[in-house]
Amino acid sequence: MKALLVAEYRQGKVQESYAELMAFSGILGAESSMFIVADSTVALPRFQGTLYVAEVSRYDEYNPEAHKSLLLDAIAQEKPDMVVFCHSSYGWDLAPRIAVREKAAQISEVIAVEDGKFIVPACNGKLRRTLTGKGLLTVVTIQAGAFSLDNLPDGIPNVVPVVGDYEGMATLLGYEEAKLGGVDLTRAEVIISAGRGVGKPENIVMVEGLAKALKGEYGASRPVVDAEWVTHNRQVGTTGLTVSPKLYVACGISGAVQHLAGMKKSEFVVAINTDRDAPIGEVADVFAVADLKQLLPVLTDKIMAL
């Protein structure tokens, strides 16, 4: 079996996530080739195999129409059985275009492979679905962090340039960086995080209170930051920070995969949630089935009294 892996290049850098694509391909026992739109004079992914390269100076970092056409050219040359993307802002944007043009099945956000079939999450991670593609070619996106290698792959690829007279319909105007500063959650040993379950902004003080009692920091999941109850520099998850404290307490956080990706390396995880089926349970060492509004004040008082 042959897998064409689609690596990513952003803000002048090859994204290390290409190692996850290699790990996935390794599990399948596939022969890997790779495609990237990058600056070949600066840096390319290191691995052993064929690397199709289109120059970013000509095709830009985000230009889905042009990237699609270039990748279709690479597919035509390589004739893979599978095209693999990261389930990322680059991958989920490009993969469906390839699936349509190749009349291929697309299987999104694969978390595991079982007997050659793909397992994906459904219903916010509450369910698992096992599926297969029907055609000769299958397009796959893999969940961030689901497949990993101990070390980055190494080797000098055999570079095959890809060029074509392709224009785009969308133009990248620039990037805006996250505003960090002040607190640095990535260094905190204890993080108490607030999720949707806190209910209203006034309840954030309960989360903050427990964080203080444990000499830690408070954080939040995406919806709480979007509601502007907590600033973005405290957001844990794919679009925020990746943290690995000694203790992580998830208060009223259901545990969407994007959040889990940001905190699952924590040493010890406590979940406080009224819904005992919440997917946060998958990573929790202890799951307190309780209303955080009742539990947090009691817990904080008892810890202060120690």
Binding site: R97, K103, L127, T130, L131, A144, T171, E176, D277
Partner: protein, 256 residues
């Protein structure tokens, strides 16, 4: 300006899910249904676009008769007309089949902007919007968290990993897929709910549209295996707090 917003009806994600008798989907009985969260942002943005530059907003939904309830909410939020593609088996159709049905309806309608959610909460594939644009040969920009329209073009911000955003511009026609954080969807007011009842809601039978073959096969659906070693604490808050403190003392160094 002609605007289309595509929505899906999904179960409330707080529901307790069970697997159906065939073992390939969740049991659809006994669930509370609502508009897919990401589609609410799409509806809101479509209505704001109309309020800014004028036009007509069509809301489209595929499913059995029960999806009309969700469509009524979109109409009450400000969409002008509804198109219901009646298909009681749509939940078993794969993203390509769904995109192909919408594309067949939309192809000759000349929509200038199409709004969809970035993904559905139940399948979470994130494919239908982009596939639809691809089938219609129009630009697609995914995962937008900011949107402005000016003089025939949209400028949006795409949400990338690590808190970075990319600013992207595209001329009409364009399809955008909407992400949490784009806007705060309005609540339908009572007068608007009443008005929505009089709005056009056209039903098209799915069998009137060309059918396409499915590209993928669901082998099974299951509940995830619970992590071994995870301990559940239940009871009164006071008792849970005591047990939790004992565990933290034993298993971590944070109370040392």
């Amino acid at each position: 300006m002609k605007l289309l917003v595509c929505i899906k009806q999904v179960p409330d994600m707080e529901s307790k899910f069970r697997i159906d008798a065939d073992g390939v989907w969740y049991d659809r009985g006994d669930l509370a249904w609502r508009m897919n969260e990401y589609d609410e942002y799409a509806v809101e943005q479509a209505v704001r676009q109309k309020e800014q530059a004028g036009g007509d907003v069509t809301v489209l939904c595929i499913g059995s008769d029960q999806v009309k309830e969700t469509m009524k909410k979109a109409l009450a939020m400000g969409c002008d007309r509804g198109v219901h593609i009646a298909d009681s088996h749509s939940y078993m159709k794969d993203p390509y089949q769904i995109a192909a049905m919408i594309a067949e309806f939309a192809r000759d309608k000349g929509f200038d902007i199409i709004f969809t959610g970035m993904q559905s909460q139940d399948r979470g594939s994130g494919q239908v919007g982009v596939m639809l644009a691809e089938l219609l040969d129009m630009a697609a920009i995914t995962t937008i968290v900011d949107y402005t329209y000016d003089n025939g073009s949209v400028v949006v911000q795409r949400e990338l990993e690590g808190g970075v955003k990319a600013k992207v511009k595209a001329a009409l026609p364009v399809l955008v897929t909407c992400q949490l954080g784009l806007n705060t969807p309005r609540y339908p007011t009572l007068p608007n709910i009443m008005k929505a009842k009089k709005k056009e809601l056209l039903t098209i039978e799915a069998k009137m549209l060309q059918s396409t073959d499915s590209m993928q096969k669901t082998v099974k659906m299951a509940l995830p295996e619970k992590r071994v070693g995870g301990l559940f604490l239940e009871g009164e808050p006071d008792s849970i707090a005591d047990r939790l403190i004992a565990i933290l003392k034993e298993k971590t160094s944070v109370l040392a």
